[in-house]
Symmetry: C2
Subunit: 290 residues, 2 copies
């Protein structure tokens, strides 16, 4: 990772974590099991990619101060909600995530379902405070059946099938992963009060890096060890998941991720110097190893 | 049920159903399994109590026109979301609800979890449109761990325990059921632009009927047959659930429900003639048989 980007990530993620700590109910509050479960998954060592995208887009579009932090944290809570439910035995049945046992392994299935629900609702309570801006609607569209949940449904229904085509695979990736990544950026732009052209650029950048991010995820599932990945490596193959490498092979998948990152860099070029951070971020997303 | 109230329920629920049909994604939209599952549970024959409470409070507080319908429908979607997740094998493990097989029995556990999530998010998308009013925040507080989800956690953790005290039982009922009922009324009052005194009255009325509703639910689980109830009768006893009749006996539970309904009627009295509907509704909630 580029040194400037690394410093940015470190600085912002400390601040995001401080906000998350303040925005989540305290662990000791009754009934404490659910509050423990919410915090366990939120503080399980995520990269904070989505909130950092929100903050970067906010600043790129001229936003100043800390107004985007609560929304950025809400998007991280939404992401965590989706992970907890995805990992459930009735879904992907994953035992590890970010090197730690998944929520249902620690707290049981019932609390895991409810902790996911509670993170979603907590996130909306925070987003609801931006009443002058359409963030609740924008985030809802990205999460609902026309977005993330739609992708998750097709992903699950494609599992074990031999004949997934490129169109279906693209549908899954675009909806399941790209939608929330793009919306994290879009939310930052909206809070900054960005104009139409900047909003469009940031959104198109999101479409590219969001899809690239998921392609790289597919690749890492194959080439990494469970240890370096922090979750069960090879689980896509074991679950006969629809993935880019399965359909196109590793080399072509790598090329496609690279092509998307280059496109993202090009889209952000009109921002000149100010766009440097998102430029490096696009490269990082393709070059990351976990 | 009082004839006037019956006519009101019939008229409003037809209209609520028409709005629900318009607000939910069409069944044929890809991926259709989740849209089918969302509609299956929403149109499984609920009483529409919560949306009707929203509409009644809206009108009582001087609201005119149809502006409260989308919010009323969102509250019914939230209620349905909670039922789908409550019925899951890892929660109450119920096979029937409103006389029909539960969502996970028809669509499988994965789609049931996602359909619940999707109804929650769809509801928020609708509530997010009331940007001049604090409905997203108010509903979130009622649903989160300081409300419905908190009640659900304690309910599940109390299951099978022999020594549930009255305080814990009250916590479960107030949070799991009363919070959303009160908020359905409060949302109607907010959309009507109610003043402080009316808002307080409507909220206090909700606290009484909400708790009375759950006590009657507990009683019906014991005295009804599965057929008349539409869900597994006796399941509270089988699951060793914390209920009013278990702690206080049937007769005392009936008296408490009656006392709360009478209190609700008294609270609503300052509305005079206009409060007649909510008065009858309080009586109905105690006298209902399913």
């Amino acid at each position: 990772m580029d040194q400037k980007l690394k410093t940015y990530f470190e600085k912002k993620s400390v601040r995001v974590d401080r906000y998350l700590d303040r925005l989540l109910p305290p662990e000791g509050r009754y009934p404490s099991s659910i509050h423990k479960a919410m915090r366990y998954s939120v503080f399980a060592g995520g990269k904070r990619l989505r909130p950092i995208l929100t903050l970067a887009a906010f600043e790129l579009c001229g936003g100043r101060g800390e107004r985007a932090y609560p929304a950025a944290c809400a998007l991280e809570m939404m992401h965590t909600f989706s992970l907890i439910h995805d990992d459930l035995p009735c879904m992907d049945d994953d035992d590890f995530r970010r090197g730690k046992p998944t929520s249902h392994k620690v707290f049981g299935e019932a609390i895991a379902v409810l902790a996911g629900d509670a993170l979603c609702i907590q996130a909306y309570e925070i987003l609801g405070r931006y009443r002058d801006l359409p963030v609740v609607e924008v985030v809802s569209r990205a999460l609902g059946t026309a977005g993330m949940l739609g992708g998750q449904v097709v992903d699950i229904e494609s599992e074990g099938k031999e004949d997934i085509d490129a169109k279906t695979l693209r549908f899954i990736h675009v909806h399941k992963t790209e939608a929330l990544i793009t919306t994290s950026l879009l939310t930052g732009a909206i809070i900054a009060g960005a104009g139409r052209a900047d909003t469009r650029r940031v959104t198109e950048y999101g479409r590219c890096v969001g899809l690239a991010f998921q392609i790289v995820d597919d690749i890492l599932d194959i080439v990494s060890t469970t240890e370096s990945l922090g979750k069960d490596a090879g689980s896509d193959v074991a679950n006969k998941k629809a993935t880019y490498p399965r359909l196109f092979g590793l080399e072509k998948s790598r090329q496609e991720a690279r092509r998307l990152a280059d496109k993202a860099v090009k889209i952000i070029r009109p921002f000149k110097e100010k766009g440097q951070l998102l430029s490096s971020l696009a490269d990082f997303i393709v070059e990351r190893v976990n």
